[in-house]
Symmetry: C2
Subunit: 327 residues, 2 copies
C-alpha cells in the first residue's frame, strides 16, 4: 500500500467535506452527560450518542458519504455490500435516499429481524448458504457480472471520513477533550475520530477499545503489524472483525495513542449502567468505550473525557435481559 506509506489515505479536509455532504441527511446527535457517572469516575464525561443516528448507528455516516460520491454511471449500476449488521441498514437507507439500488448479501440464517430491517430501508437482499458459498467470491462474481460497486464496512477512505464526522461533531459540541474513548472493530470509526482529534483537539489522547476476545487491533497496534483473530466469542457483535484494514491501520498507528480491551462481563455491566441510569438503549459494541471508562482504565488526571456510544441496535426479544438479571 504505497499510497498509505507516502501520504495518509484520509485527512481532516476529507472529514470536513463529509460533514457538508451529511448536512441534512444525518442527525446531529446529542451529547449527554450524567452527574452520576462524573461522580463515580472523577472525570467530566461527554457521551456522544450515535445510537440516535439514523438506522441506529454511526454506520450511516460512512455509507452515505461513500455512496454520495459515486459517479452517474456507477450509480446506475447500483452498489453491493455484505453485512448482516449495522452497515447493511446504513447502506440500505443511503441507497434509498440517493436513489441508488442497493444489494446486500446476507447469510440465509441471519436473524429475521435484521433481514426485515434491511429490506425495510429499501435494499434488495440476496441470501446465500454460508455452508457452501463464500461471500467474498459471491460478491466478486456479482460485481463482475453486474458492474456494481462494492462498499466495504470500514476499509475505505470515504467510509472512514464519514465516520470521522462523529468526532468532529463532538469536538464542535463540547470543545477540546483530554481523552477520547472510541470502540474499535475494523477501525473505521476509531481512525476517523482520531483524525478529527488531531485537528480539533491536538492534546487529546485517543484510545481505542476492543472486546478482550477480539483484540486483533490491540495486538496489531502493539506489534505495529496487522494481526488477526478468527470469529471471536464476544457479545460485541459489531467488533468481531478479523483485523484492522489496509486503510485504517496506518491511520490508527498515526493518530491513536493507546488501545485497551474489556471483557464481556465488564461490557454487560457498562450496558446495564447506560440503560438504567442514562436511559439509553445501547448495543454491546456501543458500550465498549463506556466499559473502559467505568473500569477505571483512563488516566485519573484527565479532566474532560469523551465517550462515543456507537449504536443501539439490539434485539429486545433476545436473552439479553436474562444476562442483566444475572449481573
Amino acid at each position: 500500500m504505497l499510497s498509505s506509506d507516502l501520504s495518509p489515505a484520509v485527512v481532516y479536509d476529507d472529514l470536513a467535506a463529509a460533514a457538508e455532504r451529511l448536512r441534512g441527511a444525518a442527525h446531529l446527535t446529542p451529547v449527554l452527560t450524567s452527574r452520576t457517572v462524573d461522580q463515580r469516575t472523577g472525570h467530566q464525561v461527554f457521551f456522544k450518542c450515535e445510537n440516535f443516528q439514523r438506522t441506529g448507528s454511526f454506520k450511516f455516516r460512512g455509507a452515505y458519504n461513500a455512496m454520495s460520491q459515486l459517479e452517474a454511471a456507477q450509480r446506475q449500476q447500483g452498489v453491493l455490500a455484505y453485512s448482516s449488521g449495522n452497515h447493511a441498514q446504513a447502506m440500505a437507507l443511503s441507497g434509498s435516499l440517493l436513489g441508488i439500488s442497493t444489494t446486500i448479501l446476507m447469510p440465509n440464517d441471519a436473524p429475521a429481524v435484521k433481514q426485515a430491517a434491511t429490506r425495510g430501508y429499501g435494499a434488495e437482499l440476496l441470501l446465500y448458504d454460508r455452508r457452501v458459498t463464500s461471500r467474498e467470491a459471491l460478491a466478486q462474481q456479482l460485481c463482475a457480472e453486474r458492474g456494481t460497486v462494492m462498499i466495504p464496512p470500514y476499509d475505505h477512505p470515504q467510509v472512514v471520513a464519514g465516520q470521522g464526522t462523529v468526532g468532529k461533531e463532538l469536538f464542535e459540541q463540547v470543545g477540546e477533550l483530554d481523552v477520547l474513548l472510541v470502540c474499535c472493530g475494523g477501525g473505521g470509526l476509531l481512525s476517523g475520530c482520531a483524525i478529527a482529534a488531531s485537528e480539533l483537539s491536538p492534546g487529546c489522547q485517543v484510545i481505542g477499545v476492543e472486546p478482550a476476545a477480539g483484540d486483533d487491533v490491540t495486538r496489531s497496534f502493539v506489534t505495529r503489524t496487522i494481526q488477526t483473530v478468527h470469529n471471536p466469542d464476544t457479545i460485541a457483535d459489531g467488533a468481531r472483525t478479523p483485523c484492522p484494514g489496509q486503510v485504517t491501520f496506518p491511520l490508527i498507528l498515526q493518530h491513536v495513542q493507546a488501545m485497551l480491551t474489556v471483557t464481556d462481563e465488564q461490557l454487560l455491566r457498562a450496558m446495564f449502567l447506560l440503560w438504567e441510569r442514562l436511559k439509553l438503549v445501547v448495543e454491546p459494541t456501543g458500550a465498549l468505550a463506556t466499559a473502559a471508562l467505568l473500569e477505571g482504565l483512563v488516566d485519573p488526571a484527565a479532566a474532560r473525557v469523551g465517550v462515543v456510544i456507537s449504536g443501539g441496535n439490539v434485539d429486545l426479544k433476545s436473552d439479553l435481559f436474562e444476562r442483566f438479571k444475572a449481573l
Copy 2:
C-alpha cells in the same frame, strides 16, 4: 375551593419563575425526532425526553421548585413525602441539593431497588407496615410531632408550576404545536404543560392520556366532577393515582381540551417502539402519550405534534422483557 373558583392556583408567571429557579439545577432535556414515527403517523412529531431529567423523570422539576421556596425555619424542620416512585427520588435529590433533610415514607415491601435509589439520593427512609399503618395518618402524625412540611406529588401549586416548565421548554425548543400529548396521573404535569401551551402556543390542543384501567381524570373531565378509581390494574404505575387533585382539576378543566385512554397492550407496543426505534429507555407511564399517538387518536390534520416522555425508571431485571417477547 374558593381560591380556585375565583383565580387560578397557578398561572404562566409561576412557570416562568420556576424555570428561573430550575436553571442550572435541572437538565434542559433534549427533543428527539424520528422519521420512522413521522412516516407512520403522518405528523411531524417532537418527543420531549424527560426520561433524561435528573432522577430519571420530570418529578424533579416540581419537587425542586417547591422545596426551594421554603422559608428558613421550614428548611430547618425538613420535609416529608410519601411515595415509592419517582416523587421519592425527586424529593431526595432536591433535599440533598438544597441542604434540606428529607424523609420519605415507604411501605416496607417496596422494591429494594427503589429503597436503595431513594437512599442513594440522600433521603432518610421511614418504612411502615401498610397492613397496619395508614400512610396519611403516619404522615400527619410526623408533621405534627416534628413540624416538618409535607410536599405532595402533584396537588400543590409550586409542584404544578415546576412540572409546567416541561411544556415551557418544549415550546421554546420547537415553537408552536398543533397538538400536545401529555400523560396523566394526578394531573400535575398535564395541567402545568397546559398552562404553558395557553401562553406560548394558544392554538395548541392539549390532550391528557391515561391508562384505560385508571381513567379517573377522563371521567372527571367529562362529568366536570372529581371521580375516583381504586388501585387500578395497569402497568403504568405512575398513573395509578386515585383522582385529580383540588389544585390540578380546575386547571385541567380550564386549559386541557381532551382526555384519552389507552390499554396496557397499546402501552407495551408504544414502549417497545420507543426502545427499539428511538433507543430510549422509557417506563410504562412515560409511554402513555406515545401510545395515543401510535393508535391514531390524534386529528390527522394536525401537522406538528408534541409528545411528552415523562420518565424512564423501569426495573431492567423485572419480567418486562417477557412481555416484550409476547408482543
